[in-house]
Amino acid sequence: MDPKDGSSTTPVWAEEFSVHAGEDAYVQRRQFTKFLVLTSFGMVAGNGWIWLKALTAKERSEWPQIAVAKVSDVQPGTVRFFAYPAETDPCILVRRISGEFTAFSQKCTHLSCAVYYAAERDRLECPCHEGYFSAADGRVLQGPPPRPLPQVTLEQRGDEVLAVGMSAHGAGE
C-alpha cells in the first residue's frame, strides 16, 4: 500500500519491515563523516580557547621578592628548594661548583616530574624520562622536554639570595 500523502515512493512495508535489518547495526558513512566533522569543530574550539587565554593573559608587572637562602648556608655543588612565585610553584636553587647561583622551576617541562641537580655533571636531571637541562641557563641538553626550564631571577644582597622575578621563556630570553 503506497502512502496516501505521496511524500515517499518507498512502500510502507519497506519502511516498516526492512530486509536490511542486519545492516542497521553498522554506522552509515555519512554518520561517520559527520562525527569526524564534529571532531574537527572540537579542534577549532580548542584553538579558540587557547586564543582567548592568550588574549586575557597579562604579563606580570610585579613579582614578589622573597629571600631564598643565605650565601653562607649553601655550599658549591648543593641546592635549596623553595616555592616561587606562589606556594604551589616548586623551585630549586643551585649553587654550581663554580660558586655561581642559579634557580629554576623544579617542574620538568616534559611531564612535570621534579628535577634534581647532578653536581658531578653540573646539570639538572629529570628522573622520569632522562631529560637533562643546563644548570647555567636551563636549556634542554637531552631528552624529551620540549622547552627550557623557566628561570628564576636572583639578586644577591649581602649574605642573602633573593628571588625577584621569573622568565617563562627560560634560557637566553
Binding site: 512502500p11 558513512r29 563523516t33 569526524l36 566533522v37 574537527s40 579542534m43 584553538n47 592568550a54 621563556h169
Partner: protein
C-alpha cells in the same frame, strides 16, 4: 569510491588539525602568545574544508539513494520472478 576518498581526506585534515592544536598549545605554554590567532584561523580554514567534504558526501549519498536501483520493488522481496 568518491565517498571513501572524501572520508580519507577528512581523516587527513583531522590529523593536521590535531597536530596544529598540540603545536599551538606547546607554543602557548612556552610563552609565545602570538601563534594563537594564526593557528585559530588555520584551524577554521581546515574545518571549512571538512565541512565542504561532508557536504560532498551527503550529496553523493543523496544521488545514490535516488537512483532507480536503490528503490525497493513494490512487489516484495519474496517474489523471485515472473
Amino acid at each position: 569510491m568518491a565517498i571513501d576518498a572524501a572520508m580519507l581526506l577528512v581523516v587527513l585534515v583531522l590529523a593536521v588539525q590535531m597536530w596544529l592544536l598540540t603545536a599551538t598549545l606547546e607554543s602557548y605554554l612556552a610563552g609565545h602568545h602570538g601563534v594563537a590567532l594564526p593557528a585559530l584561523l588555520s584551524s577554521l580554514a581546515l574545518f571549512g574544508v571538512c565541512g565542504l567534504l561532508y557536504r560532498l558526501v551527503l550529496r553523493i549519498d543523496a544521488m545514490k539513494d535516488q537512483s532507480p536501483e536503490s528503490q525497493p520493488s513494490s512487489e516484495g522481496p519474496w517474489r523471485i520472478g515472473g
